[in-house]
Symmetry: C2
């Protein structure tokens, strides 16, 4: 029977509240030790045996990595290891998956994928390297977690292996990036990857190195030392600041009622009868600091960080807790000048460690929106603050409507934050994507002096429609109503295709190719039917398959 999660899922946590991980520090090396509490799953219809994980475990992991980035700038390497004997991680909990609704499975995988991509983002952009110290059996999602690290070290104890047993044991895919990272990131030969991914017992020892599945194996007696040695070597190559003090990420404390989540800087109104959320983000009202020192001083209250932390949390809550809300109307209100002032500071000090982290956080939040299976319509009305970073939010939307009323001035503006700081998963800026067919229009948009009024924005191709005040109400209302009437599945597929024109990267392949196939399999009776492999796992009897290939 499918269980649903009754209580809303909360995405904020703190190391002091972790139930599954221990975060420790030793100079430039932090260790995230996995020690999953069997009885502390998000639901009570499964037990988290053998360091298997559910969403709650991954929320803590995501929090830990985030805090290392912001709160511990002196950390240069994160070692991921197990605090249990003989088991590193058994992957996502099968009974949790078996008892989850399709939508929950899809969103669970999306979140865990984003957590792993955040590790790779930290490695690529923040000088924070990750070492998987696999000190025991490492299966499925456990190996996928290792694959997200820069280096994978495996203990050579005659028993510990890495494996992707999803296909042979469960009839599903290693869908948290596993297949993609094996061949695309680690560049395991396709035929060896085929063998590896179809044998439940996996590969260990020297063969694991030869097949490129791990970077090195070390005997038990030397394993701990070798991990530390390699961690120190990687730390030496990092540009993370020495002796810098971090900022604390304090609780967001949204005010939550039945139909509203209010963070102050971000406000989400839920209109269930219309299956609509109205999300409003507010530009800063007070002047913001103009130096890294000033930003450090106010820390998580610095507007760009405060606003995007709230936005990120709101998006996650919508995804998991409001599945029937199909359309999100996005507004930005306040003085766009204050947004552009922040953007200037972010650009000027882009090499400062904290500014770098803030910008990367904004970029990841915008990517989270690109990947959110809801329709986003930006409404640009008089008093709107869609400038620079906030205009990037409008560019993330499926459409943008801008009111064209000469009596009520209404403008948008670009900044350097639209020029490459917030690239999408496919490596393009949102303006490059927008003008794939007319690249000169990107330059033309930046050559424009000052803000764009509605007609200029329309001519420049920056908004979809610019109705006048006579048409505005009807046109916007009809568009929202029409959207709400469409098949939610068709929209999910439509948006996943139209949002990602142009090149594909490892990252987009994980969400496009791999996830789309996994979601397909997650619907198939061979996996989720009463005799499907995912349902029969751990029970008596073998799965029964319909042998037809599609």
């Amino acid at each position: 029977m499918e269980q649903t999660v009754a209580a809303p899922i909360v995405f904020e946590t703190h190391p002091s509240q972790y139930r599954h991980w221990k975060l420790t520090f030793d100079g430039p090396v932090a260790t995230l030790g996995m020690d999953v509490r069997e009885d502390a799953g998000l639901r009570d219809d499964y037990r988290l045996k053998l360091n298997s994980y559910d969403l709650g475990v991954d929320i803590e992991l995501a929090d830990g990595i985030q805090r290392i980035r912001f709160e511990h700038p002196d950390v240069r390497v994160v070692v991921l290891t197990s605090l249990k004997e003989r088991i590193f991680c058994a992957g996502a909990n099968i009974f949790m998956l078996g008892g989850s609704s399709h939508g929950f499975k899809v969103n669970f995988c999306k979140f865990t994928n984003e957590t792993r991509l955040a590790m790779e983002d930290a490695s690529a952009h923040s000088g924070l390297k990750f070492v998987a110290a696999i000190n025991g059996i490492c299966a499925g999602g456990g190996y996928e977690l290792a694959l997200a690290c820069d280096e994978i070290l495996l203990v050579d104890d005659g028993n510990s292996a890495v494996s992707l047993p999803e296909a042979p044991l469960l009839g599903v895919l290693p869908g948290t990036g596993g297949l993609t990272r094996v061949v695309d990131k680690r560049k395991v030969r396709r035929d060896l990857a085929d063998v590896f991914s179809t044998v439940a017992e996996g590969v260990k020892g020297k063969r694991a190195v030869e097949w490129r599945l791990v970077d090195a194996v070390h005997p038990t007696s030397r394993f701990r030392d070798e991990v530390q040695r390699r961690a120190r070597e990687l730390a030496a190559g990092s540009d993370r600041p020495e002796g810098a003090r971090g900022i604390e990420l304090r609780p967001l404390n949204p005010v939550i009622s039945d139909n509203r989540i209010d963070y102050g800087v971000v406000d989400v109104m839920i209109d269930r009868p219309r299956r609509l959320a109205e999300l409003t983000i507010r530009a800063p009202e007070a002047p913001q600091p103009s130096t890294p020192e000033g930003i450090l001083q106010i820390g998580d209250q610095y507007w760009p960080l405060r606003a995007f932390r709230a936005l990120d949390d709101a998006i996650l809550r919508l995804r998991f807790n409001e599945p029937e809300i199909g359309t999100v109307v996005v507004r930005a209100v306040g003085d766009p000048v204050n947004v552009l002032a922040c953007d200037e500071v972010l650009a000027e000090h882009r090499d400062h460690w904290l500014v770098r982290e803030i910008v990367r956080f904004i970029a990841r939040t915008l990517k989270r929106i690109d990947l959110t299976s809801r329709s986003f319509f930006a409404l640009i009305e008089p008093g709107s603050a869609f400038a620079g970073t906030l205009f990037e939010l409008a560019l993330s939307c499926d459409r943008a409507y801008m009111l064209d009323d000469p009596d009520r001035p209404n403008t948008i503006a670009l900044s350097t934050m639209n020029q490459g700081a917030c690239r999408m998963s496919n490596g393009l800026t949102r303006l490059e994507l927008r003008f794939l067919g007319e690249p000169a229009r990107v330059e033309a948009a930046f050559a424009h002096e000052g803000p764009f009024d509605a007609q200029e924005a329309l001519d420049a191709g920056l908004v979809t429609f610019a109705p006048d005040d006579l048409d505005w109400d009807d046109e916007v209302r009809l568009a929202i109503e029409a959207r709400a009437a469409l098949s939610p599945d068709a929209l999910t597929g439509l948006e996943a295709n139209l949002r990602f024109a142009g090149p594909e990267t490892l990252e987009t392949k994980v969400f496009g190719r791999l996830t789309a196939w996994q979601n397909w399999i997650f619907q198939r009776p061979n996996a989720v039917g009463e005799r499907g492999a995912l349902k029969t796992y751990g029970r008596e009897g073998r799965p029964e398959f319909d042998w037809k290939r599609c």
Copy 2:
């Protein structure tokens, strides 16, 4: 109720037998006129109204394009148009889709996608350009067919529009490349594409040009002349030979029994209890011509064309008529020297129009295998002919086993046909893909003198395993048995991911991203449930949706 096709589907046809298309010629311009016979569908539970199509219609289209390439080398431009009044094409027949099994829908879309990609292949490699002359309503698959053309001309009669009504009307995607080609090929802006793909009525006239959906619109009075004018212009830029005589593609005449399809040069044995096909391709026995003139003389009996036409037909029959056959064991037998001799001729005369067509045909057939949702294992045994073009077939397989028995010589060999003539959909050669992580090994393989014995092949990374004669039987048998025991759906997803490492192209995006999502939607109750949009279309009442977004 889902209907299955009782009689095996046959993929060979001939213009003299077409029921749905008229192929006519006027100098360098051929016209494929669509005039679908309502009562001539492949099944009798639907009528092909309004130039809607089913697999039978597409088999004729594929045949027509193939024959233009081989039989009419003087043709430089193909005009695709409708012979009916006011309707160009209404797309894939909805009632056919509604009544088809999931597997049939998936394979139907795969085939139609391959037909459209064959048009783009002809445009890119054979100097054959395509003009869609849209002389009436053009919806869904009709517009997707137009999108595969080099130019799209739309009549401006106040009524004729292009549209992708799949999402709004049917709750599915325009899955025959539509969404991908709109944003990736024609580079329609994503927000405009979003609007276009969600309004059932589509876009017509000047707006269709402004949004880049079509290349030009012309009033009814001038439409026919403008199409001809543009066709002649495109013809002038083609390098197709003037006054050349084509070769006839005659029937393959396979001998078919219950468990065997025997083309002579290719032989497929079906072992249903083991869900296994054993496919054997035979190297040429007699010497093959060494000049284009000689090839022209024997035409479709020239070994490379004969062998790959048979192989292509065999793969299509397996896909549609033998859905439970999950594994294909591939053997090549005969003298590899004869294969390499052909390869030399193909390389030397690569610029000759017919050689070019033959090589492109081989390349397309190999791509068809890459995209076939069955596991392929190459078995390289003494007497095998896996050299050059035939070794490319082994490289297409998920694994290759090569017997290492010093007493029975067994070799493989490379040729120029492994060096770029047969690139995969993702633009890589199969050796480049294989050695994504160690590109120097591609060069090393080509630097090797002469054929590789089993140990050399294993060391060079060209085969997966090289068991000796003691282990061979057991190891191969166990591998095949283990494969046959796995979930067919998990294997489909696994192979779709592991086979396509590296870059993605429009072509791979159509099959990876778009198709995977479409297949997901084709499983969802919102589309195919009793009250799903695909089932309720044309009946009374509206679809009922589960509004949860995934």
